[in-house]
């Protein structure tokens, strides 16, 4: 595993996770070992093999265009971290 290509800081930002310096070092070692383990699959010959996304060859079923839900924001927001007047609230951000 090429450790230099494994940028924990970048990945943790993509994944919105926070690691302190020690945790970053540990995560770097942990993930590197996992990637090493994963490399073993490269030995399988897959030339010309179509990627398989689902175990079965089924196709998507369609739903009729009917309104079946009648959401109750009050009930859904019970236990929400911050909600008011039907809105969910977060610290203000700039778009």
């Amino acid at each position: 595993m090429t450790e230099k290509s494994l940028d924990i800081t970048y990945l943790s930002r993509l994944a919105a996770l926070r690691f302190d310096a020690d945790e970053t070092i540990r995560a770097q070692a942990d993930i590197a070992r996992i990637i090493d383990m994963i490399e073993a699959m490269q030995a399988v010959k897959t030339e010309g093999v179509e990627p398989l996304a689902h175990p079965h060859e089924a196709v998507q079923r369609l739903r009729g265009d009917q309104v079946t839900e009648d959401p109750d924001p009050g009930a859904l927001q019970t236990g929400a971290p911050a909600a008011q007047d039907g809105f969910y609230l977060v610290p203000r951000f700039v778009e």
């Binding site: 494994l6 924990i8 970048y10 990945l11 943790s12 993509l14 994944a15 919105a16 996770l17 926070r18 690691f19 995560a27 942990d30 993930i31 070992r33 996992i34 990637i35 383990m37 994963i38 490399e39 073993a40 699959m41 490269q42 030995a43 399988v44 010959k45 897959t46 093999v49 179509e50 990627p51 398989l52 996304a53 689902h54 175990p55 079965h56 089924a58 998507q60 079923r61 739903r63 009930a75 859904l76 019970t78 236990g79 929400a80 971290p81 911050a82 969910y88 977060v90 610290p91 203000r92 951000f93």
Partner: protein
């Protein structure tokens, strides 16, 4: 108190014959749980009032002459299944206080079948783990040896059934989370064909691999439970439209297979990888038993088995990294303390809310999907997945069922693998291939090694769930491994 190890059929006789009421059964279970659960940690929560109400309702229905296989049967739900109005934590701190506004489809269907839900069972956080040591709410102990793990991620469900704390328990299997704990706890558990049981209301780990199933004391009990859970669900696009007639037939036949002359394959690669001589001997004994029942054995080869764990971890972690993005502290779940900016809401909620293993897998999945790596990892793993599935399909041209070990060995000590996650991942070496291919598979008790249970895995072609249960039932009619009880 009735014997806590009676199976569902035996309980049915007592309930329908009036020797015991569902209410008495619930009280007896709660009493036993109160006594034993503190040591084992199987249950995260009990639904005491709801269980008592359901039992009273079942008693009334039984008194009115209603006869139904699961009416009044006490079970546990893995805490990955949404239960309306009740806490559903998925073993994670991030959902510590979350109450689902809906029931999972299987919770709904089992309720319709009349089961009594005692409570929610412990699990590895977001079903990521093979020892149940990754639960945010404490580990589960193996009822056979409390210093050992019960397996995972459905450790609470397997241990509860093994300890006589529930007649059956729902469970989920992404890479082995039903079969491995069933094996280590000496109980029977099935991972049905992918798509057979709805995933609606089951908190996702890796959607293309996650499959709901059940753990119980016998293959027949498993069949009864699965019959109530399985079948098409309009709310799950990946659920299969196939009916459940095969399970109906099996149950109507009292568990008996229509044909005893099955061909059973022994995959060479699995047997070669099995390092435990004791385990090999136990499996061989199981083979002899099945042969004496009229089944014929032959060797088969599944050459890409070695690549199953790598491919599995790529796919499962990648899907998980996306599935777990919704836990952001915005609409529900834990929000980080004193988060003053949006960035902090995200990062502190997730960093405080997720445990170490979950973070490891999110990072691994993020890496595999990130710019420049997708083809080498995700796409490659999808190709390997097809190769593995095709190898199974080829094997099933010549045999009806495969027999393999369920795990590398007996239950390991708590903490033994905690520092070595790669070794922990290797626990899944015999269970991930069938998961990748979507095959139905089950683990049934087949013997003991040093007083600890061992399981045999049966793998079948897609939608041969009833056949696997029939083979396991035939085996259990001829043996009593599944009747053994831990000393508690």
């Amino acid at each position: 108190m009735p014997d806590p190890y009676l199976d569902i059929r035996e309980l049915r006789t007592l309930l329908d014959g009036g020797q015991c009421s569902a209410s008495e059964l619930v009280e007896a279970h709660f009493a036993r749980i109160e006594h034993i659960n503190p040591r084992l940690g199987c249950y995260l929560r009990l639904h005491e009032q709801a269980a008592r109400d359901a039992a009273a309702d079942a008693d009334a229905r039984i008194a009115q002459g209603e006869r139904s296989p699961l009416l009044g049967i006490p079970i546990a739900h893995k805490d990955i299944f949404c239960t309306k109005g009740e806490l559903t934590t998925c073993g994670s701190k991030i959902l510590e206080h979350w109450r689902a506004p809906y029931d999972a489809t299987i919770v709904e269907r089992l309720a319709q079948a009349g089961v009594v839900v005692l409570g929610k069972s412990n699990m590895d956080e977001f079903a990521m783990g093979s020892s149940n040591e990754n639960s945010a709410y404490g580990p589960v102990a193996n009822p056979w040896d409390e210093s050992r793990v019960p397996g995972g991620s459905s450790g609470g469900s397997a241990a509860a059934v093994a300890a006589g704390l529930a007649a059956a328990a729902t469970a989920t299997d992404t890479g082995g989370s039903i079969r491995q704990p069933a094996s280590l706890c000496g109980v029977t558990g099935i991972r049905p064909t992918y798509g057979r049981v709805s995933r609606f209301g089951m908190i996702a780990f890796a959607s293309s691999l996650d499959q709901a199933g059940v753990i119980a004391r016998s293959a027949y009990d498993v069949a009864l439970m699965l019959r109530a859970m399985a079948g098409f669900d309009t709310r799950d696009s990946t659920s299969n439209e196939r009916g459940v007639e095969d399970l109906d037939d099996l149950i109507a036949n009292d568990g008996a297979l229509s044909s005893a002359n099955l061909r059973i394959g022994l995959p060479r690669e699995y047997m070669d990888a099995l390092k435990s001589a004791g385990y090999a001997a136990t499996l061989d004994a199981a083979r002899c038993e099945l042969e004496s029942l009229g089944m014929r054995f032959e060797d088969v080869s599944l050459p890409s088995t070695f690549a199953a764990i790598p491919a599995y971890y790529v796919l499962a972690c990648s899907e998980a990294s996306s599935n777990l993005s919704r836990f952001d502290g915005v609409r529900y779940g834990h929000r980080g303390e004193d988060a003053e900016s949006l960035e902090e809401v995200y990062r502190s909620s997730r960093s405080e809310g997720f445990g170490a293993e979950v973070k490891r897998r999110i990072l691994t999945g993020t890496y595999c999907l990130s710019y420049g790596y997708y083809d080498a990892y995700y796409k490659k793993a999808m190709r390997v997945r097809r190769v593995i599935r095709d190898e199974f399909a080829r094997a099933f041209e010549s045999v009806d069922v495969l027999l393999t070990p369920s795990t590398p060995g007996i239950a390991f000590k708590r903490g033994e693998l905690a520092g070595d996650h790669i070794a922990m991942y290797q626990q899944d070496c015999f269970t991930t291939p069938a998961a990748l291919a979507g095959q139905p598979c089950l683990s049934m008790p087949c013997g003991f090694d040093g007083g600890l249970p061992l399981g045999a895995q049966l793998i079948g072609p897609h939608f041969s769930d009833a056949r696997l249960l029939g083979v396991a039932h035939a085996f259990q009619q001829a043996t009593d491994h599944h009747r053994q009880r831990p000393a508690l």
